[in-house]
């Protein structure tokens, strides 16, 4: 049996804003350390990892590890019903994930658990030469800029700058940012704009994003809470240009 209480359900809501647009169902693993999930989207292009340590919760109890399989869309519908000032209590029984909002009234939602036969994927381990931080809002704005001309987005980093760009039939766009960090080797990869947009729906998780970039390599985007008590990270497969 487990029980977790959150004074501010926003962290869960913003996480699932992104997660529910990427995967239809997830397995949430709960133990005495906290909650975590790893999931891979249907087309195997995006991997998402969420970790919420027990320190985030105002109260946290868990006698034995549990695995909870849930439809992300149903969960998101419930999380959207959170009202400002609501306190959220998460528990489960044999058949349901139970979310209770305590505010002016107590509102309880039971979400049916599902069977997932698929094996939960392991978080991939990729070695990167480069790691740098950018403001989350910069990425969010860049999406809107790139969207004017293209559905593909190029991420590029060199010693000085992080460059986001696109080339379209009717125009080009380029955003340059001086990152002020040590970059070992310049790197460049192209991604689907739609996939990046899905990841960035988690816009209230963290003010900065950590990026790992390689040449024609998956993009790793990590959002961390200030005290390291929570992390939401994504891995996105690149788009490659075919050889002539």
């Amino acid at each position: 049996m487990f029980k977790a209480e959150l004074n501010d359900p926003n962290i869960l809501r913003t996480s699932f804003d992104a997660i529910s647009s990427i995967v239809d169902e997830v397995q949430i693993q709960i133990d005495s350390e906290g909650m975590r999930l790893d999931a891979l989207d249907r087309s195997h292009i995006t991997f998402v990892h969420l970790e919420l340590k027990r320190e985030i919760f105002d109260e946290y109890e868990c006698d034995e590890p549990e695995k909870i399989n849930v439809d992300t869309e149903e969960l998101m519908k419930v999380l959207r019903r959170a009202r400002a000032g609501d306190r959220l209590i998460i528990t489960s029984d044999d058949a349901n994930l139970i979310l209770t909002f305590e505010g002016e009234a107590t509102r309880q939602f039971k979400i049916r658990l599902i069977d997932i036969e698929y094996e939960t994927p392991q978080p991939p381990e990729i070695r990167y030469e480069n790691e740098f931080e950018v403001p989350f809002s910069l990425l969010k704005d860049a999406i809107a800029d790139i969207d004017i001309f293209s559905d593909k987005i190029t991420f590029q980093v060199d010693e000085e700058k992080f460059i986001i760009s696109s080339k379209g039939e009717f125009g080009d766009a380029m955003i340059e940012y001086y990152h002020g960090e040590k970059i070992k080797e310049p790197a460049r990869s192209v991604y689907s704009l739609d996939k990046i947009r899905e990841m960035l729906k988690a816009d209230r998780f963290s003010e900065t994003a950590t990026i790992n970039l390689g040449n024609d390599m998956p993009l790793k985007l990590t959002l961390k809470m200030p005290e390291d008590e929570g992390e939401l990270s994504f891995l996105l497969a690149p788009r490659l240009e075919a050889e002539e």
Partner: protein, 256 residues
């Protein structure tokens, strides 16, 4: 892929069928049933299908299809997002597929199940297609000279009071050119469509040219085209699949 998991039953009892269908639905499997059944539907219309042997497919995304032994299209169906349920009523298996908005309900009463199986499917790829108008558009925008030397596209999907122009551009002399693209043999209706688009430009002092771009044109369409002072450019839609491809994360991920 070689170790796909499935369950398959021949001549199952009603109880067995009900249990396996329930299990398949819960596991979001692809369920395939061959049975003697009756079908009723109500929602946007009402329909009834008397008893007969049919193929029923329930997909993990909620799509529900009932096929007879003829035609490509299913005889009854529900779209993705519908929810299926199964129960036994008077010894018969009753499968329902329900859609909430708009409210639609498909009910299948199975007299006898011949075969029943479900499969836990892995299928990550989307269909890639070439040969559509969108592919012609891309080809023209990449190499405008295939329309004529000096042609410069200005914008695509330009809105007029009569709809969207496929490609708007200018010729060598700066005259506007309106391109209407068709991926198959163009008929009279395509010429009329082009003519309507040109109405918005009739006051343009440089003159405007209307060009129908298609692999070929019917005799009647050509007569009308010439009478209206429009032009025809023969162009086959490209049939090569897109360059540049999506890579998956598969080579970076191992399963537990």
């Amino acid at each position: 892929m070689a170790n796909m998991r499935f369950i398959s039953l021949e001549n199952p009892t009603s109880e067995e069928s009900c249990r396996i269908i329930k299990e398949g639905l819960r596991k979001k499997a692809m369920i395939i049933i061959f049975s003697c059944c009756k079908v009723r539907y109500y929602g946007r219309a009402k329909s009834r299908l008397g008893p007969g042997e049919r193929l029923i497919i329930i997909k993990p995304d909620g799509s529900f299809l009932i096929h007879q032994d003829r035609k490509v299209e299913p005889v009854n169906w529900q779209p993705p997002g519908s929810k299926a349920k199964v129960k036994i009523e008077d010894g018969k298996i009753l499968v329902e597929s329900i859609r909430r908005k708009p409210a639609e309900k498909l009910m299948v009463e199975m007299e006898k199940v011949h075969t029943l199986s479900y499969y836990l499917v892995k299928d990550v790829h989307e269909l890639e297609v070439a040969g559509h108008e969108e592919d012609m558009r891309r080809l023209i925008l990449e190499s405008p000279d295939i329309i004529e030397k000096g042609f410069r596209p200005i914008t695509r999907e330009y809105q007029t009071s009569n709809g969207f122009i496929d490609i708007l551009g200018k010729d060598e002399n700066g005259s506007l050119m309106v391109l209407e693209l068709k991926s198959r043999r163009a008929g009279v209706s395509a010429v009329r469509q082009l003519k309507r688009y040109l109405e918005d430009f009739k006051d343009d002092k440089h003159g405007v040219r209307g060009v129908l771009v298609a692999p070929s044109i019917t005799h009647d369409a050509r007569e009308l085209l010439e009478a209206e002072g429009l032009e025809f450019k023969s162009l086959e839609p490209p049939r090569e699949l897109k360059k540049g491809y999506k890579m998956t994360l598969d080579k970076f991920i191992s399963s537990r």
